[in-house]
Amino acid sequence: MGATLKDAAVIAGTGRTAFAKRLPESERALACRAIVAALDDAGIAPSEVDAFASYTMEETDEVEVAKAIGAGDVTFFAKAGYGGGGSCATVAHLAAAIATGQASVGVAWRSRKRGSGPRPWRNTAVQLPTPAQWTRPFGLLRPADEIGILARRYMHEYGATRDHFFNVALACRNRANQNPAAIMYDRPLTREMYMTSRWISEPLCLFDNCLETDGALACVVVAAERARDLRHRPVYVHSVAQGLPAQHHGMVNYWTDDPLTGPAWTAARQLWKQADFGPEDVDVAQIYDAFTPLIPLSLEGYGFCGRGEGAAFTEGGALETGGRLPLNTSGGGLSEAYVHGFNLITEGVRQLRGTSTAQVPDAATCLVTAGEGVPTSALLLRS
């Protein structure tokens, strides 16, 4: 094997705006605030930035961000596909660009006004990608409807129950209750609340769905050689991966031989192949949680348990602090903020710096994943 990205780059800084149902500023302004905060956190001047990476459904282009923050000449820019599936790919692309000498200081970000702005599924006036003709006329309109089909099949095949999905929602909410920045900071969740909440798309109820949020986040990636000059303990990008399985179709992936082995399985093979450690060595995980069933599916895909065992894995407090695999320690998309998964990256950095509001003692390794159910990406971070 030739060149490797292993530990070649570090995340040097993170930044974010407040999270809320409604923020007054534009997505562009929020993006710039998060990026300026991340550069300040890293102790790096905006004029040093020469690389940008974002992912689709980002409305603010790098050309706008670069001129607003006062970036220097930019020699690398990239946009990963598939919305929430691209969050971790941004860091992967920057790490590759820096490791190969295409750039020296990279910024990745996500700015989103989904709390107060329009929801994509409501847009019926725009030509939709090919899959829409096979599903939308029948009322599979929202991501919750599309994932609900997979969730029902998963429950049928493996005996997963709503209690398993509740375990996921509860772990995220409990962590959010420790995080003053989380939208659900002061809103505890009980089993009674979960079981009696309204349906969104049976078998998914209100609390199986992520929050719709306004907010922005960013992180700064530099070469590992620069680590000694950094303001904070460096967080190494140990392994990266993207995953688009053979015959995969996107959200409505009902047509492959085995729709329950999604993009996580493909990304995981690549991720672990390049890593010095395995799933059993992961101290804390930030797993994309737009919907609760994505967690058991991802636990299986990334190898924390066998196929069909993801639901049972959530039992006995496994996902809570002190459990087998503490999950989404800022509250995740379900209870901190849904900013297309970027808050999972910044929380991974906090854990490895030792500054999380739900700190896992001596956490040295963290898995971060992007959206499952669409072509995805993942990062292994280590301190």
């Binding site: 939308r136 029948f138 929202r142 409807d145 609900g148 029902r152 049928h156 047509w255």
Partner: protein
């Protein structure tokens, strides 16, 4: 075919269900549906069925294809019951049942559709409590707008 996801009719909010927007590969499926035929694309060279339709056979890379007629029998592979918030026409008929049906002739081919009590019945005409994975279903055709027909699914044992 239209190039946008148009409302079905202007006859009132209850009827503004979304219509399929076929692409070049999918158009024959909808043309056959309008003739009340359920057909799936197959490779003219190796015979493999494929869905959704696409220009090239993923098995042998042939660009020649045919449309093979299906019996219209199948089993429920999974289903979901959407509740509001939904687009108005769907909210008006919610909760309704969307099934993914595995075709009896081709178990790897699965089609999404609505489970209804009769071809032209409302989306919510079957009690969701009566649906289960594995239930036998048969295809029916519903003209959702003038000239636009969609396959729907009826329980074999209502």
């Amino acid at each position: 075919m239209s190039t946008s996801m148009m409302p079905a009719t202007d006859n009132g909010p209850d009827e503004r269900l979304l219509l399929p927007v076929p692409d070049d590969d999918g158009a024959p499926f909808w043309a056959y549906a309008a003739r009340h035929e359920l057909r799936v694309q197959s490779c003219a060279a190796c015979g493999e069925l494929r869905f959704p339709p696409r220009p090239c056979c993923p098995h042998c890379q042939s660009f020649d294809h045919r449309w093979r007629r299906m019996s219209g029998r199948g089993r429920v592979w999974s289903y979901v019951v959407p509740h509001p918030p939904l687009l108005p026409a769907y909210a008006a008929q919610a909760p309704y049942t969307v099934v993914v049906v595995e075709l009896a002739d081709a178990p790897r081919i699965r089609l999404a559709g609505n489970l209804v009590a009769a071809p032209d019945a409302a989306l919510n005409s079957v009690d969701p409590g009566r649906v289960r994975i594995g239930a036998a279903v048969k295809v029916a055709f519903h003209e959702q707008a003038p000239g636009v027909t969609v396959p729907r699914w009826l329980l074999e044992r209502p």
